[in-house]
Symmetry: C2
Subunit: 343 residues, 2 copies
């Protein structure tokens, strides 16, 4: 079963290969008669002809592929959405995506980038596993690059990250709208942009709502179920306990459900909870479902591709960037606060 080439189709249809090429590619300038065109199409179909992309790409001097390289992306459940967003945008543009993973090893990363360059990739999407600032690796120089979920120290390189401030604000606004005024925030103890920016958003939203900040209601904890549980335990044990809790992360919010259950407090009647991440299988699986802020991973993937394509066609330019908003996903964990029980 030898592969059928354009020559076979030409022979079969009794025309030259250039006619076949023009007919199959609908080349306007080459005015092929409808009859010949149909005949060629017919023969090509019968033979099961599939143009050889290798030859085509070599001739066209474009590979039609874009590289996606992640550090430890594979360890986060959100990575897939980013990849998906990029892949679908690429599909629309008729491009393919080659996926690589560097495991955070710079030497390996350099080899992978070399392999991508060798394949003449038209651009590289360089994804971080979490929102941070970084220097694009030297080996990317000369290849159009967009950073995903990372801010570039090099202003020439484009990047896209979530708008953490807006996300936190959306969460707090949702609680304020339901009438809450004592709103706790359990932040990630790690010193990363997301933690700093969500805290800023939390404060900004409270301020705008005319609610004074009570430092006692802001806790930091390890980004685990246990961390979230411990913080909730403390906050819910207070005489003036908050009527709502905003969590840095859905996983931490699981701990809040547990603490509430233990304290015989109902979610949301006694305490409303808002998370962050919209973690698959978790946020919607909790009961009541966890209201949470979705990270715009899909959108970041798509944005990065569009930016890549734009910079490819246009000139080089200085590099652009975006902070994308995540949607607030409303589920059952937020309601009006309980009426004060006297005192």
């Amino acid at each position: 079963m030898r592969r059928v080439s354009i020559a076979d189709v030409a022979t079969g249809a009794g025309v030259s290969i250039s006619t076949v090429s023009a007919a199959l590619n609908d080349v306007e300038s080459a005015r092929i008669s409808p009859r010949t065109r149909d005949r060629i199409r017919q023969v090509a179909g019968d033979l099961g002809y599939v143009p050889n992309g290798l030859a085509r790409n070599l001739r066209r001097q474009r590979s039609g592929i874009v590289g996606f390289i992640g550090d430890e992306v594979a360890t986060t459940p959100f990575a897939v959405r980013m990849i998906l967003g990029a892949q679908e945008a690429l599909r629309e543009a008729g491009l393919l995506m080659v996926l690589m993973n560097s495991q955070g090893d710079p030497a390996l990363e350099a080899r992978e980038i070399a392999a991508l360059r060798q394949q003449q990739v038209e651009g590289i999407l360089y994804a971080s596993m979490y929102h941070r600032r970084l220097d694009p690796p030297e080996s990317l120089r000369g290849v159009p690059t967009v950073l995903l979920d990372a801010e570039s120290r090099d202003p020439a390189v484009s990047w896209v990250v979530p708008d953490e401030v807006a996300g936190a604000r959306a969460a707090i606004d949702e609680l304020v709208t339901h009438g809450h005024r004592r709103i706790g925030f359990v932040n990630n103890e790690e010193d990363i942009p997301a933690a700093r920016l969500r805290l800023r958003g939390y404060r900004a939203a409270l301020k705008r709502a005319g609610i004074g900040a009570d430092p006692a209601l802001v806790r930091i904890a390890s980004p685990t179920v246990e961390g979230g549980y411990g913080a909730a335990r403390e906050l819910l044990a207070r005489r003036d306990r908050p009527t709502a809790l905003f969590y840095f992360r859905d996983v931490m919010a699981i701990g809040a459900y547990q603490a509430a259950r233990e304290a015989r407090l109902d979610v949301p009647a006694d305490v409303s909870i808002v998370g962050y991440d919209n973690m698959p299988h978790v946020a919607e699986g909790l009961f009541p479902g966890l209201t949470t802020v979705e990270l715009p991973h899909y959108e970041m993937g798509a944005w990065a591709v569009r930016q890549l394509l734009a910079s490819n066609s246009g000139g080089a330019g200085p590099g652009r960037h975006a902070r994308l908003r995540g949607k607030l996903i409303r589920r059952g964990s937020v309601s009006a606060p309980p009426r004060p029980s006297g005192g």
Copy 2:
């Protein structure tokens, strides 16, 4: 900044392009003198020459790429491990992976497979989002294919799935080893291979341990936190409550923690829990950490690649398959059962 080609290197080194090619590829038969070879290497380095993979592949008649196509893989947090396992195995073989996602749309899937064929992929990894039986799509005919996390109805196609029976057995063995004899099983209510096979493993392990099966201890529930919670509530309320619970899925086991907390039962002192999936951020984030059976996604990805490469070099053959064991991950949710409180 034009791309430097082999011709530039040849000119620079004062030799012909064939000599450059032979030198750079260490072709034994062409006996290049060490001096020329070094000179060529030097010039190539200085010029930053990178061979054009497109041209090389066209000439060699192999693309060096393998396609990975998933249905809704992108929606599951485990997909990444499968992709990672495949990617690393491919890297060792010097191959690249093109990633596609069909979203479960057969028409789209056919187009994507066509695009992969056009790129002359050397094989396709066809991944399912969960363990099931399926018919490989018609469009894959003629391309070496391996199914991941799916059993093929077509015996000509190779496949790899988790060994669900062994996984469940490992979970129960762990509990039995710790002294448990009343072990509940909360299964997924969905009628899928994983549910049937894990039940079989549960029963087999009990039998082998000489423990009679008590149908009252087997429940089915929706595969959510809530489903797991409801089942745990019922089971833990029984007079003769089980001392250990085995869950179809980590997410469901979260509900068990909540039910236990509510019933003032300690995990693991009063009730031991074993999950399934080793869900990232969840299993290790719970407290105590959830002992669970890891799905061999990484290994499935790697196995599939090896099988693909083997079938590529060897003849076609009838298609092979494997059921891979997942590891039991021990954390803090299992201990010896409580001493019976009288009765």
